[in-house]
């Protein structure tokens, strides 16, 4: 079930009412109910996926207990390695098998060696990139003695499959979320009101910004060979806002929904587009992933290579971001996307002192806005690679920006649509800027206003959500086959 569907709304209303009305006095029953609800939610996509998440949860539950009570100190290390191996093999097989096979075949083709392909029709289980990372962080934290292994079977399985964050994050840490399953949740009207506001804003980000802007982006990217330079740039920039609205919107809805059930999930986005460098963007974009990579990949790697000096740091940074890129999808364009960010972060590390000097010399009132613009431009540039059909298409797209004429008469077509998109983005980013230090943009909007003013504001957002709701399907079902 997707968050912005009627099915989910009905599902959640049932869960919400049952949870608070009938189960409010028993933690055990609340957890069991959430576990069942989460499996129903996940099984809705495909019931076959349930076996995988069950296995992943079971193996890490058992392994953590083994790590915590080792017979020999070395066996703890063996067990955590097994856990990582199981999760990565599962992830590797379902997500990357075809990618590896194809790349292998392509590599040999370079030398004119033809390999026969044993193609497998593998379905990618929804959310596997998220929950494998989530369970891995649990066993690693237990190994690092930051956490005690739990014997609470139900709580642990519920933690892994918790439906608000199962499909698209935030990737939670056991130290944050697992503990919340042990205590009884109390219904809090204030917190629930804030949660509703967060869900409203998330819906706005998704329905009004992402879905609408996406229409123009798709038109431009699907026909990129016929676009003018201006159009290609516009398409890229709009995509930056589409992906932000889509992902941050989904995260906000997830956090809001969890809050309505009494859970506090971590914040996943913090107004990333006002960052002054790429390092800062990654501190504010998909925070749960970047912190995961920092704690479980970059830091151990950097510690191991600490005597390689600058090369060690560069190496660790590049490798982390190449894998970060690959995490997003099984294609070379994602690896290249990662590489560009590895480069940017390495640049940031080695120029830290210099940039500090520049900021003092060029007055910060000039330096900061320019930094924001340059950072956004670089980010958008990497997103072209991310969004294009393939690495090759991305390359042609980028070349076309320079080769093609800047404007063509075609640019005037759909001017109304394009202007609408720009208007929506400006409205969105104005609120994003005003709420840049908050958990979500409109967290405190309207607090000092009278009740009716605040209600009018929320009603206006609801109005915009309906007004710009993409009604899919064409007027005709003119089915050509």
């Amino acid at each position: 079930m997707l968050f912005n569907t009627g099915t989910f709304a009905i599902f959640f209303i049932i869960v919400f009412i049952s949870y608070w009305l009938f189960l409010k006095n028993s933690v055990k029953w609340q957890n069991l109910f959430l576990l069942v609800a989460s499996y129903v939610f996940y099984g809705w996509w495909d019931w076959r996926f349930l076996s995988l998440i069950f296995l992943s949860s079971l193996s890490d539950y058992l392994i953590a207990l083994k790590i915590d009570a080792p017979i020999k100190p070395k066996s703890a290390k063996i067990w955590v390695t097994i856990s990582i191996a199981i999760n990565l093999i599962m992830l590797g097989f379902f997500k990357y098998y075809n990618f590896f096979v194809d790349s292998f075949i392509d590599l040999f083709a370079l030398f004119d060696v033809e390999l026969s392909k044993r193609s497998l029709n593998i379905i990618l289980p929804v959310g596997i990139s998220f929950y494998t990372f989530q369970t891995m962080s649990y066993t690693i934290d237990v190994y690092r003695k930051q956490l005690k292994a739990t014997r609470d079977f139900v709580s642990f399985f519920a933690f892994v499959s918790f439906f608000p964050q199962l499909v698209a994050g935030p990737i939670e840490r056991a130290s944050n979320l697992l503990g919340q399953f042990y205590i009884k949740r109390q219904f809090d009207y204030e917190k629930s009101a804030i949660a509703m506001r967060q869900i409203l804003w998330g819906l706005f980000q998704k329905v009004v910004v992402a879905d609408n802007v996406g229409v123009v982006v798709n038109q431009i990217f699907d026909n990129y060979q016929q676009q003018s330079g201006f159009s290609l740039i516009l398409g890229a920039m709009l995509f930056s806002f589409q992906i932000y609205g889509d992902f941050a919107g989904y995260s906000n809805i997830a956090v809001g929904v969890a809050r309505l059930l009494g859970f506090q999930l971590m914040q996943n986005f913090q107004s990333p587009y006002f960052s002054q460098n790429i390092t800062e963007i990654w501190r504010r974009w998909h925070i749960s992933l970047s912190t995961w990579l920092r704690d479980y990949l970059y830091t151990p790697l950097a510690i191991k290579t600490r005597n390689w000096g600058s090369f060690g740091i560069a190496f660790s940074t590049m490798l982390t971001f190449l894998l970060c890129g690959l995490w997003h999808g099984a294609a070379w364009k994602f690896v290249i996307f990662g590489a560009f960010h590895g480069i940017a972060l390495t640049y940031d590390i080695f120029t830290k002192k210099t940039r500090k000097k520049w900021r003092k010399q060029i007055h910060q009132k000039i330096y900061d806005p320019i930094s924001i613009l340059l950072t956004f431009s670089y980010w958008t540039f990497t997103l072209i690679i991310f969004r294009a059909q393939s690495a090759k298409d991305a390359f042609i797209y980028l070349k076309s920006i320079i080769n093609k004429p800047l404007f063509t008469p075609d640019d005037l077509s759909l001017a109304g649509l394009k202007l609408t998109m720009v208007g929506i983005v400006v409205f969105f980013m104005a609120f994003d800027y005003m709420g840049r230090n908050k958990t979500f943009a409109i967290e405190t909007t309207g607090k000092p206003w009278p009740n009716i003013g605040r209600f009018a504001f929320y009603a206006f957002l609801v109005f915009l959500i309906f007004l710009f709701f993409q009604t899919d399907g064409d007027a005709f079902i003119y089915f050509q086959f």
Partner: protein, 306 residues
Amino acid sequence: MLPVFLATFTVLWGLFTPSFIKDNLNYKLGSDSFLYNRIREAKQVQNVDVLVLGASQAYRGFDPRIFEEQGIRLFNLGSSNQTQIQTEVLIKTYLERLHPKVILFVVNPESFSMDGVESSIDFLCNGVIDNQVTAMVFRLNSIKTYFTFVYAGFRQLMGMDNDFVHPIQMEHDEYISGGFVEKEYQPYRDVLPNDSVRWIPRHFQMEAFERNIETLKKSKSCIIFVQAPVLREFDSKIMNAEWYNQYFASFNVPYYNYTQILNLPKSFFYDNFHLNQHGVDTFNNDLVERLALKQKITEVTMTYYH
């Protein structure tokens, strides 16, 4: 509380935002179906001999002047992309006052596969919003229709467009009394699809169609199904044409598939779906003959006096 705010915002948005903004509120006075003129004329007319119901093949395919020459009073109640849901509204509103002896129900498959939203906008902006139109809005249950309903309703309540005069001529089209729209001659210009085509019917349109036929059968009028001619080369690409033929035949109503009957080539059309005036002439004259319209009109008139 919330609905009040939403309605208020809808009206304010419609009044003050420029029309180029692409959103779910679509208000436009005047359309190339000339529904505006047609509705206002229908409110004045009483007692016709023949009533035509359908989408664009109806109002562009039946020329009242040709029928008038044969002494038949014909009125066209059709509009662009009109679907069964809209035809239902027209039947319930105008059937009694028009009191036709014969109803020519144009049954071209396209109308069954449409969602009816576009036509509903036409009805809301260019028709008169009354109980039947309101019922249609709720039956359609579409966001776009709801928004337009609120805004158009407001404008009509406030009489904001009372001074509007719809032109009789628009680009190459001219509105002819009796609900017909004549297109200035232009040669055939359209593209044939490469692959086959299937008009997939929507359940709610089929249900509305069945309701319509039931209502019409209760009246004393003689109902005849007519599938207006489309270009034969296009028709041959429709995979489920036979399914529709059988569906229409199942209603125990005389059914004439004029694409098959006349099998007209490109010289009679200006696009894949619409006859040019020469085609209309040929089609209408054949219809009067083949359907023995004058005879049927006389028969039904007699039953009114029993």
